[in-house]
């Protein structure tokens, strides 16, 4: 993977390296400026923004927009703030990610270590499911949720996201476990470990890196989803993204830009947090030494 970077860095030379860093810095700024502006304006009184100065630092620092966005702002017709919808999103994303990851890991384990007739076809179909456009399933899914009696609930959203997420999770784990030495599984079989024991005593402890990748991917995608949220749970069970949209669109009279900015950051915060926290556990080389290389 990233083994060659050090050699390359050494051979580029000082001038080259300075150039590379400059370019990187430029791109970093490019991505950070919008965020910085959002942040600055979310701690400004509304007057300063409508006064026309969006770039300047606030003269009066205030966290009132944040408090408003969180607990009192008008979302649709109710002045609840984003808080209940934040918990809706959590209620949706956590079970969906957990279920997807567990099933994906099990699928990957079976598809690589317990091969069966037609396993490549099964895997091909799962892979295919990753590429089905969301729009196609909207109406059938609405019907299924209706039949199951979970339309308009968080449970319904969990189901939708699990169905979509399993394909990706399986893809990640299958490819990861394909490189995992089968001899380890055979050794464990001889040692008397059963199907699940081999899975969580031998494979799972070595699955850190891929689990981090999988969780980040699923969490980000499910948290940021708007289409399914808007289609299947637009009322009390609406996720954060839908609520944010309602916040921005439902202001009667004055548009409270500072509150909108604060709300948008609140909506983005969890995914940011997942990157920062989980990224640190992205340990490579966990497998080093199991098999002589």
């Amino acid at each position: 993977m990233a083994i060659a970077t050090q050699d390359n860095a050494a051979s580029v030379g000082r001038i080259g390296r300075t150039f590379v860093y400059l370019v990187l810095l430029l791109f970093a700024l490019f991505y950070l400026i919008p965020f910085a502006i959002m942040l600055i304006n979310s701690v400004k009184p509304l007057g300063e923004i409508t006064g026309g100065n969006m770039i300047a630092l606030p003269q009066d620092w205030t966290i009132a927009p944040w408090l408003s966005a969180w607990s009192t702002a008008q979302i649709g017709v109710e002045p609840t703030g984003l808080k209940p919808y934040f918990w809706n999103s959590i209620r949706m994303v956590v079970p969906a990610v957990v279920i997807c990851t567990i099933i994906g890991a099990l699928n990957g384990y079976i598809l690589t270590k317990w091969r069966f007739r037609g396993d490549t076809i099964v895997f091909g179909l799962m892979l295919f499911s990753c590429f089905i456009p969301f729009q196609i399933v909207l109406i059938p899914m609405a019907r299924v949720l209706g039949i199951l009696g979970i339309s308009g609930t968080s449970a319904g959203l969990v189901l939708v996201h699990v169905v979509y997420g399993i394909g990706f999770a399986t893809l990640y784990y299958r490819n990861y476990y394909a490189a995992f030495p089968t001899e380890l599984v055979r050794a464990a079989q001889i040692d008397g470990a059963g199907f699940f024991q081999i899975f969580y005593r031998i494979l799972l402890p070595s699955s850190g890196p891929i689990t981090v990748v999988c969780v980040i991917w699923l969490f980000t995608n499910i948290w940021n989803d708007f289409l399914f949220g808007a289609s299947f749970a637009s009322g009390d069970a609406a996720p954060m993204t839908v609520a944010l949209n309602n916040l921005v669109n439902s202001s009667t009279g004055v548009r409270e830009y500072n509150v909108h900015f604060a709300g948008a950051i609140l909506a983005a915060l969890p995914t940011l947090l997942v990157y920062i926290v989980a990224g640190r556990f992205f340990v490579r080389g966990l497998m080093a030494g199991s098999v002589k290389g």
């Binding site: 030495p181 001899e183 380890l184 055979r186 050794a187 464990a188 079989q189 001889i190 040692d191 008397g192 470990a193 024991q197 005593r201 031998i202 402890p205 070595s206 966990l286 497998m287 080093a288 030494g289 199991s290 098999v291 002589k292």
Partner: protein
């Protein structure tokens, strides 16, 4: 009835049969080596004994218990893999005792067994390390410890030394042999290295193309190979196989060979049965050490024949000097004493130990038995 019986066992993948009616009976305490070139089916056979591969037809029995369909963990076998297959997330101690834990052995007993094995293999100081922190030789020991601790009926080894460097390989070979002499457990050992096979085994099964070509003691395999494949596969440098004509002179069968100068020379073969081949061609197998300088010839042999031939290339290898030359239209290797005075391009008197010569049928390549 042996201790481990491989009874008419075949293995097919789909329509392809990769092992054909293998029939081997192993006595308790034996060290059986399966040797053969890559792809001949050694690992497949070993995995069938272990229960990791299904048996297509035939039976495998351990202690008279039929093993077909029995789970690997219920066969009381232990296996050492080529890659060692140590669990990367577990310490050495956990690696070794994992099997006992899975079999429900109480903790106190596991610790006791671990201590014994660690002492036996001298890995006491490594018990808390992870496999990633061990050298190749140490991993090898841990892998053996994991097998030993189970106290199995049969040990299975799949090319356990092939990932080690040359020096360590020789050391570990000796160690495995010592271990076997101490424990006297039945062993089935797979290797593609014929020296490993010769040095370790009590019996060897030479395999090729899914067939057991010959099953016998190292001496039987080396001195009386069943066919040309076994003759040339076992031994290094390989046995010379020279096309010759048989002519009976004075009741004694002679091998008529064309030497490097195009002259026909005759070498008496002490195998009276070859008289039946009078006037026909055979393949004559002569090992390099049976083709040497007169002073290096085996003094116990009563059938040393002198022969002049031109030296092609000399290769001093320290303990021996190897001479390559043309004989019977083929490149032939002779093994001389290190100090023999041979020079490339000169005529030289070789001593041929005909007692050790082996005759093969040129059509079937099978040995012509006396």
């Amino acid at each position: 009835m042996g201790f481990l019986d491989i009874d008419n066992t075949t293995k097919s993948y789909g329509a392809v049969e990769v092992l054909h009616k293998v029939d081997i009976s192993v006595v308790e305490g034996e060290f059986l080596v399966l040797v053969g070139p890559s792809g001949c089916g050694k690992s497949t056979l070993l995995n069938m004994i272990a229960g990791l591969e299904e048996i297509t037809s035939g039976e495998i029995r351990i202690k008279d218990r039929v093993m077909n369909g029995v789970h690997p963990s219920k066969r009381n076998i232990a296996m050492v893999f080529q890659s060692y297959a140590l669990y990367p997330n577990m310490s050495v101690a956990q690696n070794i005792t994992f099997g006992l834990e899975m079999h429900g052995t109480p903790k106190a007993e596991r610790d006791k067994a671990l201590k014994e094995v660690a002492a036996l293999l001298q890995i006491d100081h490594l018990l808390d390390r992870k496999p990633g922190q061990l050298s190749g030789g140490q991993r090898q020991r841990v892998a053996m410890g994991r097998a030993l601790v189970r106290n199995p009926d049969v040990f299975l080894f799949d090319e356990p030394l092939s990932n080690l460097d040359a020096k360590l390989r020789v050391d570990m070979r000796t160690e495995i042999k010592k271990l076997h002499q101490t424990l006297k457990t039945t062993v089935v050992y797979v290797t593609h290295d014929q020296i490993e096979a010769m040095t370790l085994s009590t019996r060897i099964a030479v395999m090729f193309d899914g067939y057991v070509q010959q099953l016998g003691t190292p001496k039987e395999i080396y001195d009386t190979p069943e066919n040309v494949f076994v003759a040339t596969f076992m031994g290094s440098p390989a046995m010379n196989v020279i096309p010759v004509r048989v002519a009976v002179e004075g009741g004694v069968p002679q091998a008529i060979i064309t030497d490097s100068e195009g002259q026909e020379v005759s070498l008496a073969i002490p195998q009276p049965n070859l008289a039946a081949w009078d006037g026909r061609n055979i393949l004559l197998g002569i090992r390099p050490e049976a083709l040497t300088d007169p002073k290096g010839a085996d003094t116990d042999s009563r059938h040393i024949v002198a022969m002049h031939n031109r030296v092609g290339v000399t290769e001093p290898a320290g303990a021996d000097t190897f001479v390559t030359m043309t004989l019977g239209g083929k490149d032939v290797i002779a093994r001389m004493r290190a100090d023999a005075h041979v020079a490339a391009g000169e005529m030289f008197e070789f001593a041929v130990n005909m007692e050790k010569a082996v005759a093969f049928d040129p059509k079937t390549e099978a040995r012509i038995k006396p």
